[in-house]
């Protein structure tokens, strides 16, 4: 397992995604209410660029003709076929048990900890004053 610094914490605004490449893989790093999540930029359905999809609340319903947005649940809609994935868990809404986007562990670490190693930071300069997003692949 490799842990790599991919961004400064401030580079990923809340409710948004930053695409990074780690060990040759494209990964989307999401900031949902101050928590960070990372998903492979590859939809398990047909390989589409999942993390380029729209981030938004889950659409739910209390019955025919009623429509609600559940803002407590942030979902990613694949820009190809529109399949919906829970950003926190990677699970697809329609088939949570067997369709999920590949997830990666992501943490936020202070710069002074990172410069001591053993984190991989080859492509990303680190300063002790800031906080950084670290992805494990």
């Amino acid at each position: 397992m490799k842990r790599q610094v991919v961004a400064r914490a401030g580079d990923v605004p809340p409710g948004q995604c930053k695409l990074v490449t780690v060990a040759g893989r494209e990964i989307g790093v999401f900031n949902i209410g101050g928590q960070y999540f990372a998903l492979a930029n590859r939809c398990p359905h047909e390989g589409g660029p999942l993390c380029q999809g729209r981030i938004g609340p889950l659409v739910t319903s209390d019955g025919p003709g009623t429509y609600r947005l559940d803002r407590n649940r942030e979902f990613l809609r694949c820009p190809w076929h529109g399949w919906e994935f829970d950003i926190r868990t990677g699970q697809s809404w329609c088939d949570p048990k067997s369709t999920r986007a590949r997830q990666f562990q992501v943490t936020v670490e202070p710069g002074e900890k990172l410069v001591k190693g053993p984190y991989v930071a080859e492509t990303f300069p680190v300063s002790v004053e800031e906080e950084y997003v670290v992805v494990e692949v």
């Binding site: 398990p44 359905h45 047909e46 390989g47 589409g48 660029p49 380029q52 999809g53 729209r54 809609r77 820009p79 190809w80 076929h81 529109g82 088939d95 067997s98 369709t99 999920r100």
Partner: protein, 365 residues
């Protein structure tokens, strides 16, 4: 549903034929250079005259990004309008050796003013050539003609037939009468004579009838599905009016209409043809035989049964030589060549579906 990589069928190294690519105008005036002044004027003043309530807009709005893949939008213009982007992101990236263009709108198939329809048809065919086929030798155009004006359609077909830039004749399966009707026969006659297949691509615009036999659906989910019931209707008409009897060399491609419905429809047609044989004595053979000989199906949007093997069984029933791969680039329900089939295919099956069936049908070099 997360099929491990080893089971997914890859078409990575195989050069493929994509039987359904949608080009687009940067703006509608792109057609003007190919139209006489009178029709440019008409287009600007009156526009298209279609059989629907909204102007320039579909009455079942599509899902995300108007039904297009979000990653196919160029800097300037709608998806499909930028040849450079299409080359880079699709033709080159996916090993497309040949791509069949499907220009669906503003070609006159759905236009109520038949004089204008003729002008549109001519213009769209010129536009395809100049904008896409001449600069990009991998692409092939379709001769788009208004099926409701058979006389003009035949003239346009004859005018284009010798030009190998055109691979097929495109008419709408949502015609004003079922396509087996005699008044469309001159088009089939010309197609057979010129040795060009008829391409029937699912059409968003009505020819004057509701999408279902009980009227108009409420939701896009239903309208999307109506493409397959419409195709079934069209195929039934072609068989029972005796089109394949009368035109034994005619070839028909059903594009974006699904295919998994075909075996059940063939069984149903066979059973009731036999029972009511005396009504259609001109249909001398079981309907399924005509389908086997005359009809091809493109694959997108592929069906995804819970058990992927079931789809392989359906294709066995249809015949591996009748299916032709398509992506529908740049639409949302695009099928990626490497991830479309979730069951193991033999090399022979892959070659047929991804390339050889289309090369044979469209006479590709």
């Amino acid at each position: 549903m997360n099929i491990p990589v080893r089971h997914a069928t890859a078409a990575a190294k195989l050069a493929i034929v994509d039987c359904d690519i949608h080009p687009a105008f940067r703006k509608p005036s792109d057609l003007y250079p190919f139209m006489a002044a009178r029709w440019r004027e008409h287009m600007t003043t009156y526009g298209e005259h279609l059989r629907q309530g909204l102007s320039g807009q579909l009455q079942w709005p599509r899902m995300m990004a108007a039904g297009l893949r979000v990653d196919t939008f160029p800097e300037d213009g709608p998806p499909g309008s930028d040849l450079e982007l299409m080359r880079r992101q699709h033709l080159d990236a996916n090993g497309v050796e040949y791509g069949m263009l499907m220009q669906l709108s503003k070609g006159g198939m759905e236009e109520r003013n038949l004089e204008f329809a003729a002008a549109l048809s001519h213009a769209i065919n010129e536009w395809q050539l100049e904008t896409f086929v001449k600069p990009e030798p991998r692409l092939r155009a379709g001769i788009v003609v208004p099926q409701e004006d058979a006389a003009f359609a035949v003239k346009e077909i004859e005018h284009r037939a010798a030009d190998r830039s055109f691979a097929q004749i495109i008419i709408s399966p949502r015609s004003s009468d079922p396509l087996g009707h005699r008044r469309y026969w001159p088009i089939f006659e010309a197609a057979e004579r010129c040795n060009l297949p008829i391409g029937l691509h699912v059409q968003g615009f009505s020819g004057g009838h509701a999408s279902t036999s009980s009227g108009w659906p409420t939701y896009y989910m239903e309208e999307h599905y109506a493409a397959t019931t419409g195709m079934q209707n069209t195929v039934t008409s072609l068989v029972f009016e005796g089109v394949f009897e009368r035109f034994p060399k005619l070839k028909v491609v059903l594009i974006e209409g699904g295919f998994a419905w075909a075996p059940a429809l063939c069984w149903r047609m066979d059973k009731h043809w036999e029972r009511m044989r005396s009504e259609t004595p001109h249909v001398t053979r079981p309907p399924s035989e005509y389908i086997r000989e005359h009809v091809w199906f493109t694959t997108q949007p592929i069906e995804e049964p819970e058990n992927p093997q079931h789809l392989a069984e359906v294709i066995e029933w249809i015949g591996w030589d009748r299916l032709m791969f398509s992506t529908d680039y740049p639409h949302w329900d695009f099928d990626h060549p490497q991830h479309t089939f979730k069951f193991a295919m033999t090399d022979a099956q892959k070659s047929k579906v991804f390339r050889d069936n289309a090369r044979a049908l469209y006479n590709l070099p």
